[in-house]
Each structure stands twice: as structure tokens, then as C-alpha cells.
Amino acid sequence: MKKYKWLVPTLYIIFLMLPIYWLINMSFKTTTEIINTYSLWPQKFTTENYVKIFTDSTWYMGYINSITYTVFNTVISVAAALPAAYAFSRYKFVGDKHLFFWLLTNRMAPPAVFALPFFQFYSSVNLFDTHIAVALSHCLFNIPLAVWILEGFMSAVPKELDETAYVDGYSFGRFFFKIFLPTIAAGIGITMFFCFMFSWVELLLAKTLTATAAKPIAATMTRTASTSGYELGLLAAAGTLTIIPGAIVIYFVKNYIAKGFAMGRV
């Protein structure tokens, strides 16, 4: 029984990799080959789909747009959440518990509910079709998440650290930036990972709030269906490329992922 234990995760990983393999397989085929033949690997290996994406600005700009608003959002979310998480972890104040739950309710709000009002709201303040509009709208679910994760990490730091620093004559600002932030660096990294992840995968709001100038790659992909029939090869290549940023980010935080989840706050 114990000898065959490795089978379960192995089979699971194979199950996870199959659709991804199929996508990569398709991305190296021509559209005619995809439609006419069924084959487990490309018969006529081609990179023309990738060449097209990297040379056509409507395609590669989609990636730049997606990465831009994702990075904006990650920076805004973490910067705003740091002081708030500190306040929640260290102090009691009027309405703290209610505020904390109210923040979490926004993580629970279905984006579909907000799609239309967001469109009208951001249009009325002239931010429609900008990166910053998408970045701000993603704050709706990423800030509560960031506060929640960071609060967990900060509460694990004993309060004596703060008190010793004040006794040593540190001002609050110097203590916060020189001592406290380095102490929870791993927590900040994990928070940034999750903010990046949720902003990167979200499409409904990103698509609703953009037209051309800030259009995310995922929305550009829906274009293949309308213009010249189904360009499956191109679609597959674009899809494959969207996996890469995530894979890079995972690689960097792999040692912290399990720890981040162990806080029980994702």
C-alpha cells in the first residue's frame, strides 16, 4: 500500500498536464492541420503562430497591457494594505472588527454584479480604457486579500519587537521601514504573488473596462473567433504564452507557497 503512494500525485499531475500539453501541441500546428487531422503531436511543426503574435502589435500589446495593469494593481494593493494590516494586527479601534469583515465581503462580491456599474462609473470619471482603471477595479478583491494575508504575518511577529525599537529610540517611520518590513519580507512576497495571480487571471472586469488602448491579452484572444473564422493555432499559441508569466512567478516563490498557505489565509 505504502509502496504505491506516489501513484496518486503522479496521476493527478498527469491529469493536470494533459490539457496544457494539448494546448501546446495545437500551438505548433497550422490551423488547417488542427481542423483536418487528429494527431498527438504536430505532423508539420510550425512556429508561425508565435511569429505572428510577436510581430503583430495588436497581439503583443495585449501582453504588455495585461502585465502593466497587473503590476500597477500589485503595487497599489500591497502599499495600501501594509499600514492597514499593521493597524489591524497591533491596535484596537472603533469599528475594527466590522471594517475587517466589510473588507472581506468585497472579496465575496461576484464581479458580474459590478461589471455594469463599474463601466458607467469609470466612464464618468474619464478613466475608461486606461490601465489604471483596471488596476483600481482589481483592488476590489485584491486589497481585502492583501490585508488578510499581511495581517496574518504581522500578528505572528511578537509585539516586543515594536516596543524594543521604541525604547532604543527609533521613530515609528524608521522602525516600520528599517526593522518591521524586513522582518515580514516573506509575507510581503507571498502577498504580492497572490495579488499578481488574481489580477492576472481575472478577465470579466478587465474586459468590461477596456476597449483598445488597455485591452488585456485574454480579451484579445476572443478576437480570433470573430474575424477570420476560428484560428485555433493562433488561439493556442496565445494561450500558451499566458501560462508563462505565472510559471515564472511560481518558480520564484515556490519555497514560500506552502508557508503562505499554512497561514491559512488566502
Binding site: 496518486v8 500525485p9 499531475i13 493536470l16 494533459l18 490539457p19 496544457i20 494539448w22 495545437m26 488542427i34 487528429y38 497599489i76 495600501a80 499600514p83 492597514a84 493597524a87 497591533r90 491596535y91 484596537k92 479601534f93 472603533v94 471594517l99 473588507l103 472581506l104 465581503t105 472579496r107 465575496m108 462580491a109 461576484p110 464581479p111 458580474a112 454584479v113 459590478f114 455594469l116 456599474p117 463599474f118 458607467q120 462609473f121 476590489l140 509585539k159 495571480m197 487571471v201 478577465l203 470579466l204 485574454a218 480579451a219 484572444m221 485555433l232 493556442a236 508569466p245 505565472g246 511560481i250 518558480y251 519555497n255 507557497i257 508557508k259 498557505f261 499554512a262 491559512g264 488566502v266
Partner: protein, 288 residues
Amino acid sequence: MNKTINQKAWYFVIPVFVLVAFNAAIPLMTVVNYSFQETFGNNVFAWEGTRWFKQILLSERFHASLGRQFAFTFIILLIQIPLGIAIALTMPKKGWGVPVCLILMSMPLLIPWNVVGAMWNIFALPDIGFLGYSLNAMGFDYNFTQQPGDAWFTTILMDVWHWTSLVVLLSYAGLNSIQPAYYQAAEIDGASRWATFRYIELPKMKKVLTLAILLRFMDSFMIYTEPFVLTGGGPGNTTAFLSIDLVKMALGQFDLGPAAAMSLIYFFIVLLVCWVFYNLMMKNEAQS
């Protein structure tokens, strides 16, 4: 931790409060406005009272999509939670297998949701997709674009593929926090594998599992992009879950009043269930 009372802490919370309020309160008020009014375009509104709420609550369409939503959420929880625990229990605890498992298993979580839908669409196509082709070759009459049963099967399989890893990672983290001394004690007592799981591992995982159920409930209840790309809610309306139905009503037919009323009812249901979970979780945290 004993916290000091300090009202000035509010200053620290202001940026978060403003950003989230800006994003949540203003749009939410718009929804509330619509839900009580009839619009004729050009910003002309007429007061409708609770008419839209009554209409939605009594409409068969809403009952049907709500029913589908609960069925979907219930099924995926029933599959993902036990499966996630089983995989976490069998994962390697040290060595090269750990990073390999963690990286490969996190992959589905970082793929944009519509790419997940598109990927599964071409994976399941009966003529050129690996899954569809294989099933048909094995003698099953499988076509997810035409048969409701197959569409459900594919949507559920896709969600299992997409999100089981989250349960795995959470459970794995929970298991890792158990001190080796507990296992040694169990061994000395001659506890069976099942008894070890039931009395040591499961109680220790209670906190992360509550969170896993909460997250999976929330996210599956809001699911939109993946089934929209995979099946478009079809065939017919058989996989039109709440969000899909809502967007159809709001942006497709521009029935703003009923759509807004539906949004609020929808949000209220999610909030209610999550509030129950949140209290359970905080109670757990207070105990430990």
C-alpha cells in the same frame, strides 16, 4: 495578542478604506438605485418599489439558474475536498518531489480564466480534442456542445482540474504544521492509518479545510468566465449559472432593473453563507 486601544490607527486604514469604498460603495449604490427603478434611457428613471425583487424571486428563470448554481457548487465541493485531501496525504514530504509537485500543481491556478475555458474547449472537442476524441473512440457518445449531460460533465471536470490544487496546497500546508511527536505517539499506541487520519490529521486540518470550503464555495458560486468560454451557458440554458444568466440579462438584454435586483439577491446569498463560515472560522481561531 493583546492589542492596545488606539483610535489613531484609523489613519493607517484610511487608504484601504478609500480605495475599497471607491470601488465597492459607489457601484453598489448604482445597483441599488437601478433595482428600485425603471429606466427609459437618457437618465430618465421612474420609481418601481420592490417590483423587480418580486419579479425575480418569483421567476422560473431565476429559480432554474439558482438551482443549477447550487447543484454545481455542491458537486464540485463533494469532489474537490476529498480528492484534495487524498492528494495532500500522498504527496512527498521532503526531497526533490516537493518543489516539483508544488510548481506543477499550482500551474492551473495561474492561467487566465478564459484561457482555461478555451483550453478545455479544444481539449474536449469531439473531433480534434484529446478528451472528446478518446471518449468517442472508447465507444461513448460524447459531444459537450450538444448534450447537456456531457456539458455538465465537462464543466465539472474543468473545475476539478482548475481548482483542486488549491485544496491540495491548503491541506498540505495544514498537514505540514503537525508536529512529528503526534505521529510517534500514534505509532506507539498502535493506531491504524484511518485512526491517525481521523483523530490527528483531520482535526489539525480543520482550520485550513474550513477556509478551503469557504473559498471554493465563494469562487464556484461566482463562476463566470470558464463556463462562458467553454459552453456559453449551453446547450440551451443547461449550464447557465447565476453569473452567466445575470450578465445575459444586464448587458445582453439591458434589463437593468431586474438585473440589479437579481445582483442584490445573488450578493445577499453569497454574503449569508460566507458570514456563517466566517464566524465558524473565527471561532476555530479563537480556540487554537
